[in-house]
Amino acid sequence: MSVARALLRSLPAWLWLAGAGTAAAGNAPEALPVTEIAPGDFVHYGKPLPLDAPGHDDIANIGFIVGRRCVAVIDTGGSVRVGRALRRAITAHTALPVCYVINTHVHVDHVLGNAAFAAAQVHFVGHALLADALVRSRPFFLANYAADLDAPASAAQIIGPDESVAVGSDRNLDLGERQLTLHAWPKAHTDCDLTVYDVSSGTLWTGDLLFVRRTPTLDGSIIGWLAAIDALAALPHVRHLVAGHGEVTGEPAAAFTPERVYLSTLLQSVRADLAQGKPLQDALKEPSEAGQSHWLLWDSTHPRNVTRAYQELEWE
């Protein structure tokens, strides 16, 4: 029997244990602060911290959308604790039940709170490739982020999607007089990026296809990401934007510009390195012209992006 199947089989037992643990703990977390950026669209802004700092479980923007019938959660944070705090924020704003948990991609800061929403009536929705990406990532999450799960940490707490959205076929979710359009993207920030558009408020939740101020992290395809940015920035009717990291102020379409400049500069400089036969170690030493003063966590993120872009573009 495979490990993954064993984990799936242990899910009911874990759910029971988690419930018991919560009741016994008796110290429910406080509600996360959220901002209603458009009628019915509530955002919690994550902090610009590195992934190994205290508070690293609260770095992504997460939130929820309230319809007439039920609530959709968009990303759950980097720990079960943050997921529970988000759940409390929801109950502070509405008595309606959560019917969907939508994960915008596989990264730890967006999915580790999923377990806080496990319930029979809740559907977990993601990109068609999210399930595979989670299978690849669970051992890494358990090895490095066990403390962000309920003890004892188990892979079964990292809940994957039971409904999926394929590239090329948008999916509509109805929250009761509120339609959400889910769009799955070809490889970009990761290989499983999903965006959520709330039609009635004109709010686009980009997941990590948009970074504001925090240095974008490349884990998919730099070419694909730039294409996704062009498509997203050209979308009509978008009145509000929720980035994966950082707060959007001002015109939605303009919010993509710094990220586009960064990634296209990176693309050009790595292509030039490759054309000159410059090896990876020399490409890494180059000062970037992409304007590091604009970006947070540059030193720990940019060199990794160079490495990833180099590995993608050397096969062009």
């Binding site: 495979s2 051992p139 890494f140 036969g277 090896p279 170690q281 060199p303």
Partner: protein
């Protein structure tokens, strides 16, 4: 890994990690020696022969003090005037990797190799060492520390793709250097298949031969500490005449991959 039952192997996998875990007897014998693998590898590979430590001007190893991408860390071995052209074998060892021996590389007699570049997986904080054997049988070693976190268990990058065994040549404009890359997952044997939930069997490039103008420049035995899409770069004191040719073999399927680059700017496939 033959001496392990599947269940033992899976337990081992859980204990260590996914990427870079070794299907080699080194893991079986030593698992995780407190001081790294070098203490047990040294007698296996070199017995009691003395190993010197020359200065930077003769030989050096470099890499990032803290790797930006543990799944693809560039490591550079350089030789100065005293050693270039006199090295017949180079080994690279990553002490704290599950498969510490990255490569054993034999170099053509008299070939003035100035530099060898590798791209490796690094599991955790470790020393990375290179040992050169000269044509007179002298051994010299240099090492560095490289910090990495979570590299071994990091999920594979989403950059996979392309045709298995596709080979890229990237010669420098002055003809003194060439980088070769082989499209290959270099699976460690400890990664999980997302569809079946089973372990993906080990599948890695085990041997690479590089020739120039009909002369074999280098033959390397390699393993799963090389990154996905194994990549080597050689810099020499003399121009490398075309055609450049690569032959590679993987394990356990023993598939052979070969390509020739004849110049004129086009990468051969």
């Amino acid at each position: 890994m033959g001496k392990f039952s599947p269940s033992t192997r899976r337990t081992l996998c859980n204990l260590i990690c996914l990427l870079g875990a070794a299907p080699s007897s080194v893991v079986a014998d030593s698992q995780a020696p407190p001081g790294g693998a070098w203490q047990s590898l040294r007698p296996q590979l070199y017995g009691t022969r003395p190993i010197g430590e020359v200065g930077d001007e003769s030989m050096s190893v470099s890499g990032p003090a803290s790797t930006p991408d543990p799944s693809a860390t560039p490591i550079v071995v350089q030789f100065g005037k005293e050693l270039a052209g006199k090295v017949r074998q180079v080994r690279v060892i990553i002490d704290n990797n599950p498969s510490p021996l990255v490569t054993t590389m034999s170099l053509a007699a008299g070939l003035p190799v100035d530099e060898i570049d590798l791209r490796v997986r690094i599991d955790r904080f470790t020393s990375v060492r290179a040992i050169a054997e000269t044509d007179t049988g002298r051994l010299e070693m240099r090492s560095i520390w490289v910090n990495a976190s979570g590299g071994c268990s990091a999920p594979p990058a989403a950059t996979q793709g392309g045709a298995l065994g596709q080979i890229r040549f990237r010669p420098s404009t002055d003809g003194h250097a060439v980088q070769i890359s082989i499209r290959h997952p270099n699976n460690s044997g400890f990664q999980v298949n997302p569809v079946s939930g089973d372990f993906i069997p080990p599948h890695f490039i085990a041997h690479i031969k590089l020739s120039s103008g009909g002369r074999v420049l280098m033959e390397a035995d390699t393993g799963i500490s090389l990154s996905e899409n194994p990549t080597l770069r050689l810099v020499t004191g003399e121009p490398l005449p075309a055609p450049l040719a690569v032959e590679a073999t993987d394990l356990p399927t023993q598939s052979r991959f070969a390509a020739t680059w004849t110049g004129a700017g086009a990468a051969a496939h």
